[in-house]
């Protein structure tokens, strides 16, 4: 089936070349200043707190606003619904709110909206799906009409980052009246686009909000209308792009994107994403492979893999090699002081021989996506005498194996929910949580120290030491960041960002 699909894709691409030349192309989206965008998943709800898919985040950022905005280029925080903020103590953030902002239904924005939204989502009984985004909130209180205070349950320095990302603000009167179900049926926010038509599971249409406040860090939208369609099949999405049925698709596999580069009416743009790839090694007591408890074996595995070549040959443009298990732009992520392991198969063999595995070693590797990359890793390991058996699984099944202490090597990827702070990445796998399969108390303590302070320098130092220790002990193989490929109509002006959020408010037609 895989071969057949590839054949069809090649056929689609070559047909695109011919048809693009012979018939010319109708730019329907350009003529009515509309962008037609296709995505493979449908959100379970349009309310950003009740879905955990990327398209939900994309819709959320266009229809709603957040208190703070993070500039995707400089990573600088700017005021959006808030104009200023400050830490009052280790657990209390105070916000001055913007005046004169209106929701799409005409409701005026003030402290009541922030207080109602944050208190609603913080209560577990309201069953917010994205618990990791809100479980840090203890409460929100109104100080006056345009001032609120947000208290965190524990010291939580990444609070501003979350309030600049997934935590949007709902209109309190409307939300109180209709609840999450009503927000899904008829979404109302304050963002640069409003929802004018929504058929769950099928499509959602956004139209420019003409009353959007001028001082927003999101610039005034140029595109009048965005039609988002949920098309599950990748080949269908490609066919739509080739036949100009849609103007933008994302997450296109590298080989397919490469084939579309030659189509005269399309452009292929690749950009780095925050999703990093790394191999975890299980060193726990009772783990199925005691060999991985030996530091020399772990170091041999890192030396065996040629990461720069993998990036160049199979991962693709936009990707870069990483030396620590975090995304480079995240606050606290650094490779300063971390041991760098070069590609050195001879050294890998020597280390294996010293550890008593000169005659070979057999391991299982569990993986759930980018199978071709796992297979390349297996090839590199075989070259130094490690026979790695691939167990390719669904994510949920792989996680059960990891948490059940049945994994040996794991091919992990992590997107940090686009949160630009190390607390959303490294600690998930090394701070003694459910997914930590090395459980080094020194590493866990340093990471917790970084997580539980609001003092930036102290945090950076703690994370730096933790990352250096992980590298020194070779607990994981940091591999690279993953790129994302976009295919768009040639005349669409747009930019790819690491948070994989297409910003329609910035796009325009040439």
């Amino acid at each position: 089936m895989g071969f057949m699909r590839k054949a069809v894709v090649a056929g689609l691409a070559s047909t695109a070349l011919v048809s693009g030349v012979l018939t010319g192309v109708a730019f329907a989206g350009k003529s009515d200043n509309t962008v037609r965008f296709a995505y493979d998943q449908a959100p379970e709800s349009a309310d950003p707190f009740f879905n955990n898919v990327r398209i939900g985040v994309i819709i959320g950022q266009h229809v709603w606003d957040t208190l703070v905005y993070r500039d995707p280029v400089t990573n600088e925080y700017k005021g959006q619904l808030a104009t200023a903020w400050r830490w009052i103590d280790d657990r209390t953030l105070e916000f001055d709110l913007r005046q004169g902002v209106k929701f799409h239904n005409g409701e005026e924005f003030d402290a009541d909206d922030v207080v109602y939204t944050l208190n609603f989502v913080a209560k577990p009984e309201n069953k917010v799906v994205t618990q990791q985004n809100v479980s840090w909130i203890e409460k929100a209180e109104k100080v006056d009409k345009y001032k609120v205070r947000v208290t965190t349950k524990q010291v939580f320095p990444a609070a501003v980052e979350y309030l600049a990302g997934p935590v949007v603000i709902h209109p309190n009167e409307y939300y109180e009246k209709v609840g999450p179900k009503g927000q899904n049926d008829k979404p109302v926010g304050s963002g640069p686009y409003k929802v004018t038509n929504y058929v769950p599971g099928k499509s959602i249409t956004l139209e420019k909000n003409p009353d959007y406040f001028r001082d927003s860090p999101k610039p005034a939208a140029k595109i009048a209308k965005v039609e988002i369609r949920f098309i599950p099949d990748r080949q269908t999405q490609m066919a739509e792009a080739i036949s100009s049925g849609v103007d933008l698709i994302m997450g296109v596999p590298k080989d397919q994107a490469d084939q579309l580069k030659a189509a005269p009416h399309l452009q292929v743009v690749s950009g780095e994403t925050m999703r990093i790839v790394f191999l975890q090694m299980n060193t726990l007591e009772g783990a199925p492979s005691p060999a991985l408890k030996d530091e020399r074996v772990r170091k041999a595995i890192i030396h065996a893999i040629d990461r720069p070549t993998m990036v160049k040959q199979i991962v693709g443009e936009g990707s870069r090699v990483i030396d620590t298990v975090c995304f480079p732009s995240q606050f606290g992520c650094t490779n300063d002081g971390a041991v760098k392991y070069d590609y050195n198969p001879a050294k890998a063999k020597q280390l294996l021989a010293e550890a008593g595995y000169g005659n070979g070693l057999e391991l299982d590797i569990v993986a759930y996506r980018e199978r071709n990359q796992t297979e390349a890793v297996i090839g590199y390991l075989r070259a130094v005498g490690i026979k790695a058996n691939l167990r390719f699984l669904q994510y949920a099944a792989m996680r059960d194996i990891i948490r059940g202490n049945k994994a040996m090597l794991t091919h992990q990827t992590w997107g940090s929910f686009s949160v630009n702070d190390v607390s959303a990445s490294t600690p998930v796998f090394f701070a003694a949580g459910d997914d930590d399969i090395t459980r080094d108390p020194a590493v866990a303590e340093l990471l917790k120290k970084g997580d539980n302070s609001v003092e930036p320098q102290m945090r950076k130092e703690a994370y730096r030491k933790a990352l250096a220790l992980i590298a020194e002990k070779a607990y994981a193989v940091p591999m690279y960041s993953l790129p994302s490929y976009y295919v768009a109509a040639k005349d669409l002006v747009f930019k790819a960002y690491p948070d994989e959020l297409p910003r329609f408010w910035e796009m325009s037609w040439k």
Binding site: Q41, G201, T236, S243, A396, D400
Partner: protein
């Protein structure tokens, strides 16, 4: 006849019940719903909370009996993913699938009957071979592959039809061909075999001897009789088309029951999967029952057997 129908009806109910039980246990064995719902990065306690909230921590038999009891009372539960009643979701999507099923059936009959007749009238000639080749290709090509070939030709090269969606009649043309072509060969073979048998019958020879025109003999006298088994097969194939639309609906992003089934499998949305499987199996069983009854009505020998 009534006794026969009641016996078949009882059997049909048992089949539906067995399918529901098998589907229920197989779906549960296919993976942990709580883990799937929690998504990437969920903590173990989040997963446990979800397991408890949705009652997934109880023994499977208890879950099945409760589900069956609720279903029998007309309560199909709530979708774990969309958080809306399953009945509303299914009713919303069913019309698209029924339209696609009927148009595909129409297409299949339109193609297979003339081809079958031609193949029988010119048996063992090149026309017969050509019809056979068309039938073999129809059955051998996976429908996702054929669907994409259609897209390549009609949407990309000719730009006549939209690639995907369900907003207008034009959106149904390619899905109809892709799905209909797959079932057409069965009809074609049946028509051909029936026609060959009928054409050698005495009454056809008599009709010819009377000097009736060939067209009248073939269409008026022979085809009518050759089509009897086709009527029964039509009911069964319609059931197949309704159930077999998962791939085609997914490829063409047609917002029907097949697409809903695909989504519910992706998201491990058990309540939806369960109802879709039950509904399709009941429809299939009912259509098969209809075919049996029609056959029995047309041919009394079946009733005795």
């Amino acid at each position: 006849m009534i006794g026969y129908v009641l016996k078949r009806l009882g059997l049909a109910l048992l089949v539906a019940l067995a399918v529901s039980a098998i589907a229920f246990f197989l779906l549960r064995l296919s993976g942990d719903a709580a883990t799937a719902i929690a998504g990437e990065g969920a903590r173990q306690e989040d997963i446990e909370l979800i397991r408890k909230t949705y009652g997934l921590d109880r023994p499977l038999v208890v879950q099945y009996v409760e589900w069956l009891w609720q279903t029998l009372r007309g309560d199909f539960g709530t979708s774990l993913y969309f958080k809306t009643p399953v009945s509303a979701l299914v009713l919303d999507k069913l019309p698209t699938t029924i339209v696609l099923g009927l148009t595909s059936l129409g297409f299949a009959l339109l193609v297979s009957i003339p081809l079958g007749v031609l193949a029988a009238v010119y048996a063992n000639s090149w026309i017969d071979r050509l019809a056979l080749a068309i039938a073999v290709v129809g059955q051998a090509l996976p429908n996702f592959f054929f669907a994409l070939i259609l897209v390549m030709f009609f949407s990309i090269t000719l730009r006549w039809l939209p690639v995907s969606g369900s907003d207008s009649w034009a959106h149904f043309v390619m899905p109809t061909i892709a799905l209909g072509y797959y079932v057409a060969p069965a009809f074609m073979r049946l028509v051909r075999a029936g026609m060959i048998e009928v054409l050698s019958a005495d009454y056809i020879r008599t009709a010819r001897a009377k000097g009736l025109p060939a067209r009248s003999v073939i269409f008026k006298h022979a085809l009518r009789n050759a089509l009897v088994p086709v009527v029964a097969l039509t009911a069964v194939q319609l059931g197949f088309l309704l159930g077999g639309s998962v791939v085609v609906e997914t490829i063409f992003a047609l917002d029907g029951l097949g697409y809903l089934a695909y989504q519910s499998i992706t998201y491990k949305d058990f309540p939806v999967m369960q109802v879709v499987v039950l509904l399709l199996s009941v429809l299939y069983v009912l259509l098969t029952l209809l075919a049996d009854v029609a056959n029995a009505w047309l041919d009394p020998r079946i009733r005795v057997a």
